[in-house]
Symmetry: C2
Subunit: 250 residues, 2 copies
DNA sequence: TAGTTTAGTTGACGTAGATCAATTAGCTAC
DNA sequence: GTAGCTAATTGATCTACGTCAACTAAACTA
């Protein structure tokens, strides 16, 4: 099936280190950090990127309150970020797919404001932030891009606030499906055949719903012929209807 | 009363332009942009800051989708940011008090993602972002500070997501009161005698509640002896109890 | 192969907060 | 002074989603 996340692809499974020897040759370069840089600048970025062993499912990339030192790019797999409130309940703050950057919440106070854990086997690029700051002083493109990245995360978080505070369960779930579909498309994966890397619990937590409500809404969408869903395998049958539901007012 | 917002102070009302001839002498310098800069760097910041006429209540600073060019610092008064969803409903995304920076949501796509409107007569400093980028290239302190500012806004937005998706009406409102109280304290205003610059409608919208629920919770807090409230005049009687409620789990 | 654990589904019922509606109190206009 | 507004409060009722509980089906293990 075309939509299976690429961490299952042989290349990643058998030689994860070779999957991207450098940023210039990485197949995510068009959507990841190199996006904003010129050829010779990518070389400089490349020198500071660290490519580690792949993370196993359940392994943490960093934990809330850890000393902040790096941001991370997902190369394959999927990562979940979550924070713990004073009262001990978990809040999933984001899902990160290949080409996406996480860890930027640590810049403000030199400590990560959230924990990040692999939801499946994942290859990760680590970029020490001190090096990013140096490079940003030298390369205006780099500085501009990071300002943009941070600002875009603000905008997304504000959209998410609207989603969870003003929208129904159906609108929230439709919105998540549409978002994942669009992010799949950006990576040249099928936007209609999706393997959800996260559990119902994570989805519910992220959307401010219970697992039961998530399950019921999935069932309702299936009954209406908008999707087919079997555990984590999701087939989108009517993306336009979902987009319409996602953009509905309350 | 000590807690009245300083836009009512004669100095601001009668000579708003003299209130801060430059950043170095501005009484908000300890909490605003100059915070992170050395003396000689503040001079450079000062050269790019534009201090305009005060905004009247209801006047806009910028509107959603306007071309992005500047970020703004509130010098006196209070500003509300809000965005309009596809479906036309308003979402209040933040309240900005003196010393606070807004407009950074525009960096990512060169258009403001929200509108900003004065909730009362407000003096505003405008800082063209192109100049900030230039200056950030030259002054590492400046670059670092802006990265931090952006990151902190991300962290705050994520806290707000938790607030509206996992907390009760009482916890949300207690949280807002505690936040405004703390921000008053930062400006050396009374943390217990507060003049709320925003309407019940704005509070409800910001917290994901209806105006009726906001009103009822205020009344309940008053009945419990935690606050006294008369329209926009709020006296905090038991800040510890409010902090406790604000940090409660769901 | 049965026994336990974990993720997900579905149903019955309860509740926090929304909705609808009536009332009050300032404010402006004339 | 009173008519018309708008912001806020308070009460009565409704409902979307949460809670509690029973059940199914993988997946793990011993």
């Amino acid at each position: 099936m075309i939509a299976v996340s690429e961490h299952n692809a042989p290349s990643d499974k058998h030689c994860p280190h070779n999957a991207a020897i450098n940023c210039a040759s990485c197949r995510l370069s068009a959507i990841c950090l190199p996006l904003a840089l010129a050829q010779d600048e990518i070389v400089q970025l490349d020198e500071i990127v660290q490519r580690g062993r792949p993370l196993q499912k359940g392994q943490h990339l960093y934990r809330e309150n850890d000393h902040f030192s790096s941001v991370f790019a997902v190369r394959s797999g999927a990562v979940k970020a979550y924070s713990m409130s004073d009262s001990g309940e978990e809040q999933v703050t984001g899902f990160y797919l290949p080409g996406e950057i996480l860890g930027m919440d640590g810049i403000g106070h030199n400590r990560y404001a959230s924990s990040a854990v692999a939801m499946e086997v994942s290859a990760i690029c680590e970029i020490p932030f001190a090096n990013i700051e140096d490079l940003s002083g030298k390369l205006p493109n780099m500085q501009k891009h990071f300002f943009k990245l941070l600002s875009q995360e603000i905008v997304e978080d504000q959209r998410h606030i609207t989603l969870v505070s003003k929208h129904t369960a159906e609108e929230r779930l439709a919105s998540l499906i549409v978002s994942i579909s669009a992010r799949n498309a950006r990576r040249n994966l099928s936007p209609l055949n999706i393997r959800l890397p996260m559990s119902r619990t994570d989805i519910g937590n992220f959307l401010g719903l219970t697992i039961e409500t998530v399950s019921r809404v999935f069932s309702r969408f299936a009954k209406q012929g908008l999707i087919e869903i079997d555990k984590k395998e999701l087939v989108v049958l009517d993306i336009d209807a979902l987009k319409h539901i996602a953009s509905l007012g309350h």
